[in-house]
Symmetry: D3
Subunit: 303 residues, 6 copies
């Protein structure tokens, strides 16, 4: 497998700058009052999840520390997309310890969230191993972090659905509800909508349609849909739909997908299973950043 | 209880604008190819969580729809901070159905995430009911959404810790690690650090110190700490620390706090319990936005 | 036909703000020294092209004048996408004459360029009338104005190709040149590239491939291309390619298309003809903005 | 002759960043699916205009490629302002071929437009060779690109008129139309306006006035204008105006200037001829960017 | 006299937004903890300077309060540019008292600084009353506030010098120092510089030159300077220069100008006196904002 | 003493970019017309204040010149916070003389203002030497420059009060005026306000209250204030308040503090004296930047 491309430098720079502005405000008061001079030190990010995790965000952490202090030097111990055992080092950063303290939280916030997404995605991919099906993400991403979160999904082995409303045609139930306002519909609204879309859409985009019943599936095939999204159907219904479609369109399954039911859904034969939880509900993984001054960690005096 | 203040208009406007830019890109292709004329319609956001949820984000959804189309009219059915039963309507938006489709996903992404945080916070607050302790958040927030997420915590009944590095003094283990590089320390580094901070810090900020052992607690008291954060201590250790401190400092408990153990931790007597999971791992709540054209939802033709 | 959607409010606002900042700088010195008080006046934008023009940019002019002075009132006499005869009024703006002077040049700069594009596009569409072919634009747009220029193409009757690199798959000669670096290619690079793209690309995008020879066309069909772009082929070659493809893929013709040869190209049977000149070389149309104070234009005293 | 100064780094960086954001969006899908690893390659921009062209925009292309990938190395083969024969190389860029593909279109869009302006300007300058007259630009520039376009005019041998409304005094017909609202004007409005402007304007700016008749010219001289713009006058009228003015003011000719009539206008004796078409209607020149992988272009396999 | 134009809405909006972001950060903690509900109240800005002041900044305060809370209503009691007696009300703002508290400091910071500049300028203008000389500002303004500060100078009765480096030609001693690097200068560098500038500069700008000796003045006249700036000359030298120039150029006096010596300088006959202190050293004037809740100020209970 | 931390790189970069945009606009016309080629030169910033000054802003000047031209090399002769004798060099910059001219004014504007603040602060600190009291700043800073101005105060030996409304609790008279609208107050509003604030405020902030009478002081102590601000009290009143408080709260004195009365105020025993004039009325110090081309300053030819 190949490493997915990182979001563009401009996106990365902007997202990181905002996160730092938010956390640093007009300065790191605690560090300023304690340390007036630079202190050479090394920080190490360590995986603290018992079952390990899939790393995502080293490239973001690199940008965080670079913005805090361009003289810091970051070394990746594990690349984005690699598995980290519990206790293993993910990266080290070397330089002024005060700068490490300033960047620590923001770097960890990115790493924990993105690795959480990559790790959860890898679990879903693992769960469907052996079936010719792709796990794909949705538009249910954190506002402002879509590019990074879709990258994390790819690092975890998933595939990306359309990025936003501009780069994919997907007719959903709310579109059909509005189609009720069309004058004089001959035949199912869904078929009409498909035909209208095919006629007017940019020529490079395939047409995807959400179907809630087998009747919808038939209407979609009549309308010439390239992809049919089976929304919230149970396994028997999915099997019937697969049979009905017989390769005439790609099949996506969506709605209520969990680690518990994803293998059964995969066995029913769809080409794609989309999972909103990959990005809207992945718990953060546990990571720490340990900082040690270069002349060695003195044993701290304690009473 | 009173409703916490919404983040400033400027922050709200900016966060929403970025989220819309991300999702809308150069346009909502599907809606454009299907509908060339305005269609009067009404959208209703409905709570889909079996156990209900605490609403957070109506004010954000209002900004989303206003930016998409200023002629849309949003009516709050429930206010931010209120409990929504499963199936109840949270808000309705009225206007051109095409604009509703354009704003739908972004509005829901905000509502689902923020309500997820408020709902989880309210569970923690419920769990410690009866104890004189506050549930507080941390800096482990989503990059770019700190102000909104801390607002959601407050809506759920929690209290806010410092916003960032600039508005609170908190000496943590990594600061003490660096203090090992100080010359000639007489007595515990932690005590020295407290004294240094008290002398040089802005006069309006209290001094908080992280303690990992009872020795650390004593050193913090010697140094004149105003607040002592007991990090990752178990309940017996917390009890001893509470006894040792005897009201001379505020006590915050932190590390590995879950809904399962939070009541026991509260019973040990701290003033504050901080919970990173409130913001870094709250699952999104389930919400839908149902759109109906004003001339009534026609029964959709199905084969 | 239906009116294409205007670019998003956010894009419009930003593009106009930059244009005004550029032209107004720290103020309109001439107007300031001449007029200290408001002067009620009306400005009328008039088409000055002998053969008329297709209007594009009224919505942009509206934003320009709104940003200069929110109290101005703009009335569209002709809608975007309509034909304006020579001498006909396109819009009027009423309010403080000083504000009209401040917005005049920027409003005209947008209107003249965008109407130029719409007008040229309409000539190309007219030239192929009767053939089942679409005139489409390219990515050869003015840096910073892509959304507006693609909108102008649509207003002129053209269709839009992909917006940018993110929403369309198009394998071009430079991709194939790099594919030479691939190890051990069995069969044509073009076929390999198609297969690789089909396997890894987002499932909602069709695959388009540039072909320079009939051999390329065959390789593209073997690779499963959905759309084949015939680059710089002459009419006989296009005819052969059309015959070879026989409906198995959409056919786009590109390269050196002019008003002189476009009808012959259309007659050869492609589905799409893309024309870079629509956006990179459309001459601006002639427009004027005449301003008259409300108490009537006094005959100017002349010696 | 000397090379005009490039627009400031800040302007350049901003304009380029916007152009790249527009074209790259959330990524170059085609390149990403085809190439997972870096491929050392060299791109060469070649002039494809039969009659050659004046190069403008190498400095912009340098910024484009630097923003796409700072490790790319650009070498200018011809400097901005130099003449390029058909087929000659303008610049080469070396580095990861995927980055070359990402920056290609944006770099070319700038180079083609700016070189188009410089080339057209050089034709106008050539046409008036031998006369002591300057070809100057106007404010009829592309919104957002004024600084770059005025730079291109200078590279083509033209001179720059005022940048915007803030750095020049120019009383036009629309100002005089509003002056009709002034109370009790003794003498021509144009003379009054000149006097008012001289009295109140910043002391460092000369006063320019648009004249449409010889009467206007006399009124402008009475008002003390420093520069008189003869608007849309024919050659005999210009000759009379030149005679009337006799060196008491600079003379600018404007309106309907073409390559066909510019030499006759120059012969009539003005100091300046301003040409809106330099920036609003210059056709883009033809340029290509050929990319070759470093291990040599393999002959592409074809059936 | 007429009221100078306010800086553009865009500039005003931006400058105010930054000032508010700086002061409000993530919220007005004190007001939030004290007041959970709106409190109708009225704030009145009062002049607290014994000798009165010239008002500047009411328009800015209006923008401040509008950004803080669009429902606030501001009424100007005195216009920008008017004199305020000690104790007189300048403006009132009515609405939610919490919003008044949030905007108070930023509004006052603008009003105090800008009124300080207008007031000092009016003193200088008063001091030269009767002489045909203008008091003008310099580029020695507060970074980020130039447009507002130059507006305040105009409100105080002064005139504006060039806005920045782009809208005026001014050859200073540092230019001449660099001219020493020119090859083979025949005659004074200053004369050469003037000639070079006249030949190459935009045709709408006058040429100003700094002179430190009478020799410089002669060289400037030889070079055709339109304006001569007498830098740091004493009164007798200025008189000689005035005599030498005899109306062939405008004369500006600069350097070490104070309220104590400005009348003597004016008496020596220059056209303009420029004063850096107007903007770089004007002390803020004293203003207060008194807030009273609408149900009347209750006498505060005191022990 | 230690050097206070510079404001963050992001703040510095942004503030400087805006200042340069303001001054440079679309270019330095004078320099461009005079010099077409680079001229190696050195600029030296020299203190021109008879009594010397405290340097503040070298780090800002470094950013200014770096943004103008990254190839310039700046060497600090004196560090920020050091005393500069009259006539001493503060910094030198080496590189293309044209770039020095472009950055000169902006660099000096920052240096003169910030050094003015540091110098005035050092005078206040000197005046209270021997008393255990800190001189602190206020929120009366220049809009947009707060971070830099508070840094300059620290460089002059002062301490920083809260940065803005978000990082400090300070109940002022206008809060109490609004408290009059509270229902049913038992006891002084000030005491009630203190209690309300202590209950609801973030746990890490101390509570400061403004007192105008001794009664207010008692009410504040009853309410548990941590810091009491004695507003506009005379020396005898301050002495009584100090006696009354007896170490139970920190004491800040404010209002009408001048170099003439500050020592008497200090002698009365407060912990802090806050001085608005440090930032709102510090006069700029005199500095010059002398530029010399590297081949030596030629003696300028004079008649």
């Amino acid at each position: 497998m190949t490493t997915p491309s990182l979001p563009s430098t401009a996106v990365l720079r902007d997202v990181v700058a905002r996160a730092l502005a938010e956390d640093l405000g007009h300065g790191d008061i605690t560090t300023e009052v304690l340390f007036s001079e630079p202190i050479a030190a090394t920080g190490t990010a360590v995986a603290e999840e018992r079952d390990g995790l899939v790393v995502a965000g080293v490239a973001v952490a690199r940008e965080v520390f670079a913005q805090v202090d361009p003289s810091l030097r970051l070394t990746a111990r594990l690349g984005d997309g690699q598995h980290a055992e519990a206790g293993s080092a993910i990266l080290t950063v070397h330089g002024d310890g005060r700068s490490l303290l300033r960047g620590e939280r923001v770097a960890l916030n990115f790493l924990q969230r993105l690795s959480g997404i990559a790790t959860l995605t890898s679990r879903f991919c693992e769960a469907v191993r052996g079936f010719p099906v792709k796990i794909v993400d949705t538009r249910k991403t954190t506002p402002g972090l879509r590019a990074l979160e879709k990258w994390a999904v790819a690092l975890g082995g998933g595939s990306n659905h359309r990025f936003g409303l501009a780069d994919g045609l997907l007719i959903k139930d709310n579109h059909l509800a509005l189609a009720a306002a069309w004058p004089a519909l001959a035949g199912p609204a869904l078929t009409q909508a498909c035909r209208k879309a095919r006629e007017r859409a940019p020529h490079g985009l395939k047409l995807e349609v959400e179907a809630q019943t087998l009747g919808d599936v038939r209407a979609a095939l009549d309308g010439g849909a390239d992809i049919i999204l089976l929304d919230n159907m149970d396994v028997p219904a999915i099997r019937k739909a697969v049979e009905l479609i017989k390769g005439r369109a790609l099949i996506e399954v969506s709605g209520g997908v969990t680690l518990a039911n994803v293998r059964d859904l995969a066995a029913a034969g769809p080409d794609l299973i989309s999972v909103g939880a990959l990005t809207h509900s992945a718990p953060a993984v546990n990571l720490s950043l340990d900082i040690v001054p270069d002349r060695g960690r003195r044993s701290r005096a304690r009473s």
